[in-house]
C-alpha cells in the first residue's frame, strides 16, 4: 500500500518545491516519485493480498495492474507537460500537485474493497479534475468546462451516493464481501428487495456519468474541448481507465449473480453509447472534439467487458484501456504540437503534416490505426478480446452492431491520415521537442509491440 502513501505525499512535496521556486526540480521529482510508487506496486505482485485498513481496501493483482497502467500513463502525460504549463500560468507546482492528488483518488478507486472507499476515491479524483479543467482562469472555454464538469459531476455523484445508500439499506453493509454474500444468500430474484435493485440502477447511472457513457455523456465534449489539452488527455485516458476498473471491480465482485437484471440495462447503454459516440464524431470539424466523441465510443467498447462479464473481463479491460490510453496520448501530444504551430485544432491544420514532420505523421498514423482497431496494433487486440468475450456470452447482435460502429469509426480516424499524407499545405517546419519524441516514439512502439505480441500484457491475469 506504499504506492498510495507515496502518491499522496508527493504532491505536498511538490507544493513546497513550488513555494521555494524550485521550478526545475518539479518534473524530475514527480517522475521519480511516480516511478517509486510504480516499483512498490509491482513489488506486491502475486503476494496473497488481504483486505487492509479494516477491510477498506484490497491491493490485489487487479489493483496492481490498473495502478501500474494509470501511473505509467500519468508519467507519459507529465513528460509531455514539460514547457506546456509554463505557457498557461505561473503556478506550475499546483498543476503537478493536483494531477497527483487526482491520481491518488484513482489508486483508491482501483483498489477499493468497501463502497465508501469507492465514493471517496471518486470524489478525490473528481474534485481535483474540476480544478484542472478550469485552470486557465482567464479563458472562457476553460471556465465553462470547469463549471459544466462540476455541476454534472456533483449531480452524478449524488446518484452514486444514493445508490450506495440504498444498497446499504438492503444489505446492512458497505463491504463488498458482505454485499456479495448477501447476494449469494438470496438466490431467487423475488427475495431481493426493490431497494437493492434501485441501488444497483443508481450506481450504474453514477458510474456511467463518470466514464462518459451515453445517455450520460453530455458533459464530455464541452469539458474535453474547453480544458487544456493535456488535462483532456489525462481525463480521457487515466480517468477513464480508472472509471472502468472501478466499474468492473464492483460488478464482478458483487453483482455478477444478478446479471439477468442489469445486463439488459447495460446492453442498451452500450449500444446507444457506441452509436452516439461514433456518429457524432463523424460530424466534427475539430480534431479535439472528434477525440472527445471517439472516447465516448471507446467507452462503449469497454462496456462490453462488463456486459459479458467473465473470467477474462479484467484482462480485456486492461488490454483495451492500455491500447486506448497510449494511442490517445499520441493523438493529444500531436494535437498540442499542431495546435501550437497552426493555432487551430481543426482537421485542416493537419494537412501535409507528413511533409512537415514525417515522424509525427507516422506515430499519429499508428495511433489512428490502433484506435480504429487495425491488426498489428494494440487497438486490434483490445477489440479482439472485447468481441471474443461478448461472443462467448452469445451476444451476437451486440457484436454485429459493434462491427458496424468499427466501420463508421474508420471514416473519422482516416480523415486525419488522409489530411496528413494526401493533402498539401504550405511547407513550414514543425519541430518536435525531444521529450515529445521520446513519449510519442515510446507509445508508438508499445502500440506495435502489444499488437504483435499481446501476451506482453494479457498474460498478467
Amino acid at each position: 500500500m506504499n504506492t498510495l502513501i507515496i502518491i499522496s505525499v508527493l504532491p505536498l512535496v511538490l507544493l513546497y518545491l513550488g513555494l521555494y521556486k524550485a521550478q526545475k526540480a518539479l518534473l524530475p521529482v514527480t517522475v521519480i516519485g511516480l516511478l517509486a510508487a510504480l516499483g512498490f506496486a509491482v513489488a506486491e505482485w502475486n503476494s496473497s493480498a488481504v483486505p487492509i485498513y479494516s477491510g477498506m481496501m484490497l491491493f490485489d493483482n487487479f489493483s496492481i495492474a490498473f495502478s501500474a497502467i494509470t501511473i505509467i500513463s500519468t508519467i507519459l502525460i507529465i513528460f509531455l507537460s514539460r514547457g506546456y504549463f509554463e505557457k498557461i500560468s505561473n503556478h506550475i507546482a499546483e498543476y503537478y500537485a493536483i494531477i497527483l492528488f487526482s491520481l491518488a483518488g484513482i489508486i483508491v478507486m482501483v483498489s477499493f474493497y468497501n463502497l465508501t472507499m469507492l465514493f471517496i476515491g471518486i470524489e478525490i479524483m473528481s474534485v481535483s479534475l474540476y480544478i484542472l479543467a478550469g485552470i486557465k482562469k482567464s479563458d472562457f472555454a476553460s471556465n465553462e468546462a470547469a463549471l459544466k464538469y462540476f455541476l454534472m459531476g456533483a449531480f452524478s455523484t449524488g446518484f452514486l451516493l444514493f445508490g450506495v445508500a440504498l444498497i446499504y439499506g438492503a444489505t446492512g453493509s458497505f463491504s463488498l464481501e458482505t454485499i456479495r454474500d448477501w447476494v449469494l444468500d438470496h438466490p431467487h430474484a423475488k427475495d431481493i428487495t426493490p431497494m437493492f435493485y434501485t441501488g444497483v440502477l443508481l450506481i450504474i447511472v453514477g458510474l456511467c456519468f463518470k466514464v462518459g457513457a451515453a445517455p450520460f455523456h453530455f458533459w464530455t465534449p464541452d469539458v474535453y474541448e474547453g480544458s487544456p489539452t493535456l488535462i483532456t488527455a489525462f481525463m480521457s485516458t487515466v480517468v477513464k481507465t480508472a472509471g472502468f476498473a472501478a466499474f468492473l471491480r464492483l460488478f464482478s465482485a458483487c453483482f455478477a449473480p444478478l446479471s439477468d437484471f442489469w445486463v439488459p440495462v447495460l446492453l442498451v447503454i452500450t449500444i446507444v453509447t457506441l452509436f452516439i459516440g461514433n456518429i457524432t464524431a463523424l460530424y466534427q470539424h475539430s480534431f479535439k472534439r472528434m477525440l472527445a466523441f471517439s472516447s465516448i465510443s471507446h467507452a462503449g467498447y469497454l462496456l462490453f467487458a462488463i456486459v459479458a462479464l467473465g473470467a477474462n473481463s479484467g484482462s480485456s479491460v486492461l488490454t483495451y484501456a492500455t491500447a486506448y490510453s497510449i494511442a490517445s496520448i499520441i493523438a493529444f501530444g500531436a494535437l498540442i504540437l499542431v495546435q501550437q504551430q497552426q493555432g487551430s485544432d481543426s482537421f485542416e491544420s493537419f494537412n501535409g503534416l507528413a511533409k512537415k514532420n514525417p515522424f509525427l505523421a507516422l506515430v499519429l498514423t499508428i495511433a489512428m490505426l490502433s484506435l480504429a482497431g487495425i491488426p498489428l496494433t494494440a487497438g486490434f487486440i483490445g477489440k479482439f478480446y472485447m468481441f471474443s468475450s461478448a461472443l462467448m456470452q452469445m451476444q451476437v447482435w451486440l457484436v454485429v452492431l459493434a462491427v458496424v460502429n468499427a466501420i463508421i469509426s474508420i471514416f473519422y480516424y482516416f480523415r486525419v491520415i488522409v489530411a496528413m499524407y494526401f493533402r498539401d499545405a504550405e511547407r513550414t517546419e514543425l519541430v518536435v521537442p525531444v521529450y515529445y519524441k521520446l513519449v510519442l516514439g515510446f507509445s508508438a512502439i508499445v502500440t506495435i509491440l502489444i499488437g504483435v505480441y499481446p501476451s506482453l500484457i494479457s498474460r498478467f491475469f
Binding site: 490505426l369 487495425i374 491488426p375 498489428l376 486490434f380 479482439f384 468481441f387 471474443s388 461472443l391 462467448m392 451476437v396 457484436v399 454485429v400 462491427v403 468499427a406 466501420i407 474508420i410 471514416f411 482516416f414 488522409v418 499524407y421 494526401f422 493533402r423 505480441y453 499481446p454 501476451s455 494479457s458 498474460r459
Partner: protein, 487 residues
C-alpha cells in the same frame, strides 16, 4: 526450412528497402523479391505433391487464447505462393521506368504487402489468417492513395472501408468457430472437425462470404473495384488484380466452404447465380468501355466470376480449374495492365478511340500484346484455356443453362478484347500514335517473361496441375460427404 522464412524475408526486405532512395530502392526491392522467388522455388523443388502440409511451423503466439503461429504449405498453398512470388518481382520490374517519389517507402510497402499475402496463403490458424488478411490491406491502401491518380482519396477510402467491413465480419465468423471448438483453438483442422448444425453454419457462411465476395469481388459487391483499379498506380492495380483478389478465392476454397459446408449448401444456388450474373454484367459493361484500364478491370470481374462459379459447384475439375486459372489470370492481368501502363505513359491517354496503328511503329509490342490478349480470351494452347475449360465443365455439372450463359459471355469477352486489340494496334496511325516507340529494356524483359509463361503453361499445363492435385482431391473428399444430399 520452414515457411516462416518465406513470410519474414519480405518483412526484413521491406525494412531494408526503406533505407534506400530512388533507383537504389528499385534495385534493392528487385533483388529481395528475386531472392524470395528463389526461396519459393527451393520449396517447390523439395515439395512432395501429396495432400500433406509441408514446411510447417507451429509456435505459440497468444497461447492463452489458443492462438498459434501455425503455417504450412500444401498443394493449394504452393500454387498461391508461386503466384505471389512470381508476380511480385515482375510487378517491381514493370515500375523500372517510373520515377516514384519516396521510392524507398513505395517498394517497402510492396514488399510488406507480399509478406501479408504469403501469410494469408499459408496460415493454418484462423487468427493468423485474419492478421495476414489485414496486413495485406494496409500497404495497398497507402500505395493506392499516396501514388494514385486524381480521385484517389475518395476512391481508396471507399475501397478500404468496403474490404475492412467484410473482413470484420469474417473475424466474427472466426471467433465464433473458435468458441465452438472443444479445445478453444484457432487451428483450421479443428474447425473442419466441428459438426455445427445448418442454422449455425449459415451464420459462419455469411460472415466469411461477405469478406470473400467483397475481395473477389462478386456482383453486387464489386462497386469499389473499377474505380480503385483506375485510380491506383499501375503497380498497385497489378498487385490488386493479380494477387490480392485471389485472397478471396483462396479464402472460399480453404476457409468458407470447408468450415460451413451445410450453411454454404443452402445458399449455393445464390452464390452461383451471383457469379454468373457478375460474368454477364461485367462483360456487357466492359464492351462499352473506352478507357483501356477500365476495360481490363471489368474483364477481370468477369474472369473472376467464372472462377468463383467453378468453385461454388464444388467438383474436383472446378477446383483444379480454379487453381490453374488463378495463376494464369494473375499473369495475364499483370500483362494487360502493363500494356496499358506502357501506352498511357508514352501517349498520355488510355482512351481506346484515340489510338490506332501502333503495330506499325512497334512490332515487338504488338506481338506481346497479341499473345496476352489471346491468353486472356483463353485460346487453346495459351494458359487461359485449360483453366476455363475445367471451370466451364464444372459449371456444366451444375446446370446446363448456367454454363451456356457463362460460356456465351466468355465469347462476348473474346469479342471486346479482340476489338480493343484491333482498334489500338491496327488501322491508320494518327499524329498521336505515330510517335509511339517500341518497347525496350525492362519492358521487353517483363513482356517476354509473361509471354513465355502464357505459352509454356498453355502447351504443357500438367506439371502445374500436378502440384495441387492431391491436396485438392483431399480437400474435396473432406467436404463433399458433408453435403446433405449427393448431387
Amino acid at each position: 526450412m520452414t515457411v516462416s522464412i518465406l513470410i519474414f524475408l519480405p518483412v526484413i526486405a521491406a525494412l531494408a528497402v526503406l533505407l534506400f532512395k530512388n533507383d537504389a530502392a528499385k534495385h534493392a526491392a528487385l533483388t529481395f523479391s528475386v531472392a524470395e522467388l528463389a526461396v519459393a522455388l527451393f520449396f517447390l523443388s523439395k515439395f512432395v505433391p501429396n495432400a500433406s502440409v509441408q514446411f510447417g511451423i507451429d509456435a505459440p503466439w497468444i497461447p492463452k487464447f489458443g492462438i498459434y503461429f501455425s503455417a504450412g504449405i500444401d498443394g493449394i498453398s504452393m500454387m498461391m505462393v508461386l503466384l505471389t512470388t512470381i508476380l511480385v518481382p515482375l510487378i517491381i520490374l514493370t515500375t523500372y521506368k517510373h520515377q516514384y517519389k519516396n521510392a524507398g517507402a513505395f517498394y517497402a510497402l510492396v514488399l510488406f504487402m507480399q509478406a501479408g499475402l504469403l501469410l494469408v496463403f499459408t496460415a493454418l490458424d484462423g487468427f493468423l489468417f485474419y492478421v495476414g488478411w489485414e496486413a495485406a490491406l494496409i500497404p495497398i491502401y497507402f500505395i493506392c492513395s499516396l501514388w494514385g491518380g486524381e480521385n484517389r482519396i475518395k476512391v481508396t477510402l471507399k475501397f478500404f472501408i468496403y474490404t475492412f467491413s467484410g473482413s470484420l465480419f469474417m473475424l466474427l465468423g472466426i471467433i465464433y468457430l473458435y468458441l465452438q471448438t472443444p479445445a478453444k483453438t484457432f487451428d483450421i483442422f479443428e474447425f473442419y472437425k466441428l459438426g455445427l448444425d445448418a442454422h449455425h453454419q449459415a451464420f459462419v457462411f455469411w460472415a466469411f462470404f461477405l469478406a470473400f465476395a467483397i475481395k473477389m469481388p462478386l456482383f453486387p459487391l464489386h462497386t469499389w473495384q473499377p474505380d480503385t483499379y483506375t485510380e491506383a498506380p499501375s503497380a498497385g492495380t497489378m498487385l490488386l488484380a493479380g494477387i490480392m483478389l485471389k485472397m478471396g478465392i483462396y479464402g472460399v476454397i480453404r476457409w468458407m466452404i470447408p468450415n460451413a459446408p451445410l450453411g454454404f449448401f443452402d445458399w449455393e444456388s445464390m452464390c452461383i447465380m451471383l457469379a454468373v450474373i457478375g460474368i454477364g454484367y461485367a462483360s456487357i459493361i466492359a464492351f462499352k468501355q473506352n478507357d483501356g484500364k477500365r476495360l481490363v478491370a471489368y474483364s477481370s470481374i468477369a474472369h473472376v466470376g467464372l472462377i468463383a462459379a467453378g468453385i461454388f459447384v464444388w467438383t474436383i475439375e472446378g477446383l483444379q480449374g480454379a487453381m490453374i486459372q488463378m495463376l494464369s489470370h494473375g499473369i495475364n492481368v499483370v500483362g494487360m495492365f502493363f500494356i496499358w501502363d506502357i501506352i498511357s505513359r508514352r501517349l498520355g491517354t488510355r482512351s481506346i478511340s484515340d489510338l490506332g496503328g501502333i503495330a506499325k511503329t512497334a512490332p515487338k509490342f504488338a506481338i506481346a500484346f497479341l499473345i496476352i490478349v489471346l491468353g486472356t480470351v483463353a485460346l487453346p494452347l495459351t494458359n487461359g484455356f485449360i483453366g476455363e475449360f475445367l471451370l466451364l465443365s464444372s459449371v456444366f455439372q451444375w446446370n446446363v443453362w448456367m454454363v451456356s450463359a457463362a460460356g456465351l459471355t466468355m465469347i462476348f469477352g473474346a469479342v471486346y478484347m479482340l476489338r480493343m486489340y484491333k482498334t489500338v494496334m491496327h488501322g491508320p496511325t494518327n499524329e498521336l500514335t505515330v510517335t509511339f516507340t517500341d518497347i525496350s529494356g525492362s519492358e521487353t524483359l517483363v513482356l517476354s517473361i509473361i509471354c513465355a509463361l502464357i505459352i509454356i503453361m498453355g502447351v504443357y499445363p500438367q506439371p502445374i496441375l500436378h502440384i495441387s492435385e492431391a491436396s485438392v482431391t483431399h480437400l474435396f473428399n473432406v467436404v463433399y460427404p458433408k453435403f446433405p444430399q449427393l448431387k
